[in-house]
Amino acid sequence: MSQDSLSISDGRATGSLSSKPRSVWASPLRRREAFDGIVFIMPWFLGLLIFILGPFAAGFYYSLTEYDSLLPPQWLGLQNYHRILVGDDRFWVAVYNTVWYVTAAVAPQVILGLLLAILLNQKARGITVFRTVFFMPSIVPIVASVSLFIFILHDRFGLLNETLYQVFGIVGPNWLTSPDWSKPSLVLWSLWGIGGGMIIYLAGLQGIPETLYEAAAIDGAGAMRSFWKITVPMISPTILFVLIMGIIGSFQIFTPVFLLGGTNYGQAAAGPMDSLLFWVVFIYNQGFFYFRMGYASALAWLLFLLLVILTLIQFRLAGRWVYYEDEAVNR
């Protein structure tokens, strides 16, 4: 037993003092630890190869072929990409619809989510009940919440149009069956789930030391000043997180679009007059309805490349507006 403890401290010593990293693994205890470590991460590592990196690479290969998943893939080179970008009008419809939705849905997620979190961060009686009320919609299964919205947004006897008509005398639009209103309906649905972002902000807000606000108040800073000079900089890493995840998630939105789009129009439908033809719906239709796996893979890779570029741009811009406390302290 005492020998074991000795060799532990030995391993430590070589670990911190030796300049050659290789010698660290010469200790039998460290070697056993390394072996165990590899054993413990092995399921994940195999999963990484089989379910992530393998498919990732295979997808790129398929995107260069014509492949119906029955006959072997036929090499096409870059033809799929060429056809998508130059010869497929519906692709550009899908891009337009998706970007429309991302713009309309992510901005409220980021901005209204923060305002809601500030409202809910107060020490008022019953505030936890309100937090629950705002957060709950974001955990309702999507199929269930879409069913509910299909009912609420029904042209004639949906609660929304009934209220608009009976209370305000407005004849509401055909939310789900008109090409002009299908995307706004989707945004309405996404607004209901805004509590998901709110709860992340709330966690961030609670990490801001109260003393900062007290000091600002003593120095005579007003509410707006405190908001812009304390809350926003302190919460900016969270804003970046919500923004990046919101954009990645919204570009890939599938389930509600697919459900709303196919409701009255059949399997591979994309809503009234393709107004709900979104990027991932297009991929799904091409791959799983028409079995054009190569073409669908190319569509997926284009979306991947776009998201990589967008994320890199955001990280680059983040240097200008995101404030990291630890870095500031170290400077």
């Binding site: 399921p43 309100f130 009320v133």
Partner: protein
């Protein structure tokens, strides 16, 4: 926090006015957010005549419990419920097991390439799922696993998702190192430390993973849609979709099924609320 923003305008009446304003805002917004779920519950208990009525009927009279029965028997909902539960339980167990193993490796054990592999893990967090969706489907097709639960369960036994590994690793890092060192000195192997020290100490974090995992699988739509084709394999999500696709919809029954699918999620949420918040705090703050 607003208290402090506005703190310098003391004055009692101003304070009262402000509190009233905040409560009115909370009540108004709260009503808008709560209304759809209340409407869901209320509609699910209405008779056919009451469904489209104006003014809206919030408390149906009498309660038509029969909607649940009719909807339940209109599809094979008992079976869908069983299938969904089976997939959810088996997949969540796999996630708990292999995610905690990987997190232990990354948090506590030193091996060559650890930092690099962890960076890879973080990178996969941001990998869009669509880019692997089609090749993964082809892989399962090649294995002959289509129209079975295996594609929905087996991947969970291979790490259980980068997000959960990250979450657990953050938690394991907070446990005192001395405890593990002492156990090693006393001759415990890393496997024993994992089973007898780490897991029992990590119940809160494991509960968080279990809850998130439960919701992920229970709510999943795209996975079952792609992999399950025969109705006797359907999950609740697919069963409910059949309702949406019908031309003749009886909304009170559709709402009844939507509520039944939502109920377990809400129950889990109410009973384990604090683990939710903790999970968000652990992962969300620094992005």
């Amino acid at each position: 926090m607003l208290n402090i923003y506005l703190g310098r305008f003391e004055g009692k009446s101003r304070k009262v006015a402000r509190a009233a304003f905040v409560y009115l805002l909370l009540l108004g917004l709260g009503f808008l957010f709560a209304m759809p779920l209340v409407w869901l519950l209320s509609t699910s208990l209405k008779s056919n005549e009451q469904v489209g009525m104006w003014p809206p009927v919030w408390i149906p009279y009498p309660f038509v419990w029969q909607n649940y029965f009719v909807a339940w028997t209109s599809g094979n909902f008992g079976l869908y419920f069983f299938n969904t539960t089976l997939i959810t339980v088996l997949a969540t167990v796999g996630q708990l097991l292999t995610a905690s193993m990987a997190a232990f490796g990354f948090a506590r054990l030193r091996f060559p390439g650890r930092e690099f592999l962890f960076a890879v893990l973080l990178a996969t967090l941001m990998l869009p799922f669509v880019v692997t969706m089609i090749p993964t489907f082809i892989l399962f097709k090649y294995l002959g696993w289509l129209n079975s639960f295996k594609p929905l369960i087996v991947p969970s036994y291979f790490g259980g998702g980068a997000f959960f590994i990250f979450l657990l690793r953050q938690f394991f890092k907070t446990l005192p190192t001395e405890m593990f060192e002492q156990a090693t000195i006393d001759g415990a192997s890393n496997y024993r430390i994992y089973l007898q020290i780490l897991l029992p100490l990590s119940k809160p974090a494991l509960s968080t993973v279990a809850i998130f995992g439960f919701m992920q699988h229970w709510n999943d739509f795209l996975g079952p849609l792609i992999y399950l084709s025969s109705p006797e394999k359907f999950t609740l999500a697919l069963g409910l979709r059949q309702f949406i696709q019908r031309t003749e919809v009886r909304y009170q029954e559709m709402m009844a099924m939507a509520l039944l699918m939502t109920l377990p999620v809400l129950l889990v949420f109410f009973f384990f609320q604090q683990y939710f918040i903790r999970g968000v705090v652990m992962t969300g703050i620094k992005g």
